[in-house]
Amino acid sequence: MSNTVLSISDVEVGQELPSRTIHISRLSLVQYTGASLDRNFIHWDERFARSVGLPDVIAHGMFTMGSAINVVSDWVGDAGRVVEYFTRFTKPVVVPYESGADVEVAGVVKALDAQTRRATVDLMATCGTDKVLGRAFAVVVLD
């Protein structure tokens, strides 16, 4: 199978990545709880979440981080090209039983290094009016 990794000649600073909406349901959180082994009750038990002062269960920050990077992996064409990924967790994503939550993820190329063929992509993730990831960026190696 041939692989189509993005070439540095097709990328420029300021370029926007295709954005997407991640829908988060209770099932998403239970599935991530199992896969990640992060079984903290605040991510799946609303009675517990409320008892510690949260409005409802909240998504794992690492679930949001792990899902948001798909925007970059799919754009570059190979998840193995992501060599660095950073974020701050600025606001929790509250996931109500009925509606779940929608996180909008967008990315923009912030820097390019022709010598190392690396691109730095800034990521923006918002839930309603809340910015849920802060100063998030990923570095990818292009072809």
């Binding site: 991640i22 991530y32 896969a35 082994l37 792990g66 992996s73 998840a79 950073f86």
Partner: protein, 148 residues
């Protein structure tokens, strides 16, 4: 109870090896909605030059959180987990985590800071294969909220 600042700079012995399995890679990738076939299909992963299926970019957290538990679960460290909020996370991948890897991790407490009644603890886990090949560096900052 305050976080024990004397833990700053401490380095722990390497953890027992974590065996990276294909099915765990697939399960984790599916859980975060990662669609790239490189996580699921060995043949296509090999066609891209990988030895086997590779993990999605944040999979290393699985290994790092086991490693960080050495600090968090130590009563001497004074970290009240019920007051912990995840502040920051950084992954630097020296190469992708690949099915079949046996990964050990060395924990260092990079810093312990107090600010505005909260404590901030930054840990670094250096992941490498049992043969000593560096794989990933995972840096995590936890915020421990002060008492009311």
């Amino acid at each position: 109870m305050a976080v024990n600042a004397s833990f700053a700079g401490r380095t722990y012995p390497a953890t027992a090896p974590y065996a990276v399995g294909r099915e765990k890679i697939r399960e984790f990738a599916e859980a975060v909605g990662a669609a790239d076939v490189v996580h699921y299909d060995q043949r296509q992963a090999r066609a891209r030059g990988y030895r086997d299926v590779i993990a999605s970019p944040t999979f290393a957290v699985l290994i790092a959180q086991k490693c960080e538990a050495q600090l968090i679960d130590d009563p001497e460290a004074g970290i009240d987990f019920s007051r912990v909020v995840h502040g920051e996370e950084r992954f630097v991948h020296h190469r992708p985590i690949t099915a079949g890897d046996e990964i050990v991790s060395v924990l260092t407490v990079d810093s312990v800071k107090e600010a505005g009644g909260h404590a901030m603890v930054t840990t670094r886990c250096e992941l490498s294969t049992t043969e000593g090949e560096p794989v990933s560096t995972v840096t995590s900052t936890l915020v421990i909220r002060g008492g009311e």
